[in-house]
Symmetry: C2
Subunit: 348 residues, 2 copies
Amino acid sequence: MTIQPSDSIRPVRFEDGALRLLDQRRLPSEETEQVFTDAPAVADAIREMVVRGAPAIGITAAFGMVLACRNARGQTDWRARIEADAGHLRDARPTAVNLFWALERMQRVIAGCATPEAAESACQEAAQAMLEADIAGNRQMGALGAELIEPGQGVLTHCNTGSLATGGYGTALGVIRAGWDAGRVRAVYADETRPWLQGSRLTAWELVRDGIPVQLLCEGAAASLMREGRVGWVIVGADRIAANGDTANKIGTYGLALLARAHGVRFMVAAPVATIDFATADGSGIPIEQRPEREVLELAGQMVAAPGARAYNPAFDVTPAELIDAIVTERGVVRTPDRTRLAALVGR
Amino acid sequence: MTIQPSDSIRPVRFEDGALRLLDQRRLPSEETEQVFTDAPAVADAIREMVVRGAPAIGITAAFGMVLACRNARGQTDWRARIEADAGHLRDARPTAVNLFWALERMQRVIAGCATPEAAESACQEAAQAMLEADIAGNRQMGALGAELIEPGQGVLTHCNTGSLATGGYGTALGVIRAGWDAGRVRAVYADETRPWLQGSRLTAWELVRDGIPVQLLCEGAAASLMREGRVGWVIVGADRIAANGDTANKIGTYGLALLARAHGVRFMVAAPVATIDFATADGSGIPIEQRPEREVLELAGQMVAAPGARAYNPAFDVTPAELIDAIVTERGVVRTPDRTRLAALVGR
């Protein structure tokens, strides 16, 4: 696969029978890979956010199933063992639908195989294809999304939706990369994205590395940025999109969508079709992961809040479809999304 | 002065001819006082946020003028020397109008004195009176504001507007203290308030210390909190209120006001009358302090963003009067504030 100048990062690699994940908790100060040879450890890595971002989680889980097949070799109950590993992976994060989608795809591949050796080989091929299709889809999404941006506009993004959150290139950040390369994006602003600081640590690192200037801001400054007219589009990713277009994404997204609407700024969600969960009618059916309170109370591992203080720390929120101007997928753009338009996108 | 159980903190003290400031940058891990004997060092302390919060800055500057008078003793050009010190103090922070108000008050006191010794003594009396009037005003504000809260409601506050931001008791946090003591406030939520984390470090410390339970949240989670119906009022302080009610306050306030309006949550500003700047017609005339980029790029003194990333870091934003349901002052409550109603409050 070709890597372009503005796209030099690959967070998930499978080599020599092992899964290698760039440890995103240590970026940008350290670039270290963790190596995995069994699925429960991969599940822990997903839960502990060594890897994060809905598409990257899906791809990681798919490679986790390759390890599950390998470790089931020579066992009479190999199907049950693989199934147990799939359960570990499924339980790692509750909101990202790509995780379940990837696991179901691998389970269908395994169902068609007669031996664990055959399942391992077929899963590896399928997972690698999933990774490459993700990157190709992101490029397509980037091209489609960039066309919506009128030349000369500033864009604001939230969390990290870049190469690190996907197989490579990114979803929302892929649109921004494409928009920058096409000369349409004039300025990139990124929320620092508390409590994990994915914006400061990951998005800024990717953009600086790929030569795209970026200005970080605290979430509280987004309304001022919009009021000053510096932003034409807010562009975000998605962890799950309900059948009606309601979109679960990193905590803070829903507030941004409200602020965008109040300022006449447009709001774009960029996500692969696998993120759309047609089995969930609307956002009220999406489970929202509550993360540990210490993520808010601590800073860089040090308690910052007074002992005795509590915290409210949902990891995601749901943006109602009516606040979204466009959902951009690898198969096309859905403007003012609703149930009918989203179903039409996939020919349902 | 009596200190009540829910009001045990005094950040600014003048004792033995020196100004003592609780170093708020070190809270909550360390409770240390810094001692000041000259006005330029006090100006530096204000700029570097040893002390912060509009009313506390005003009181600190008033005591800074006592030091200016003392250090001008025996000088033939004593008035010019005091005036130079006043200039240092005035330049410390551009947005908080209480700073200018306190300095002008001290300058009028000094103008009426024949010697630096007389000026020092008169200033010390005036500054101490200002401190005590601030606390008394905050209690009055607390009582008036608490009456607006229907019993059983949750409240959300931003930044620190408590004892630490004032002479004592607090403005918005004074309303919350009074509402808690009166059994009207059911739950207190506090934004962590990036980049300085005044919510986590200061507001949580004050509330825990005074026995009021608090839940912290990242700014990005405020919209979800409101959508879940957990909040009846957002209650904030002010650094400057223009004649029409437009209110400059800590960055993030304006966004909260928009989110509150979108969710039917009411929005209260609690601030002393000295915060109202009748010379500024509306919010467009309020200068907004831009703080150093490193405040966003670093965390606890460590660079967290990738080298090469920039930051957008305004310290304040302006909330238009039409988003404010009530401005609560020590002289009374102004509902749906505008120029006429604010002028009537002070009999203009």
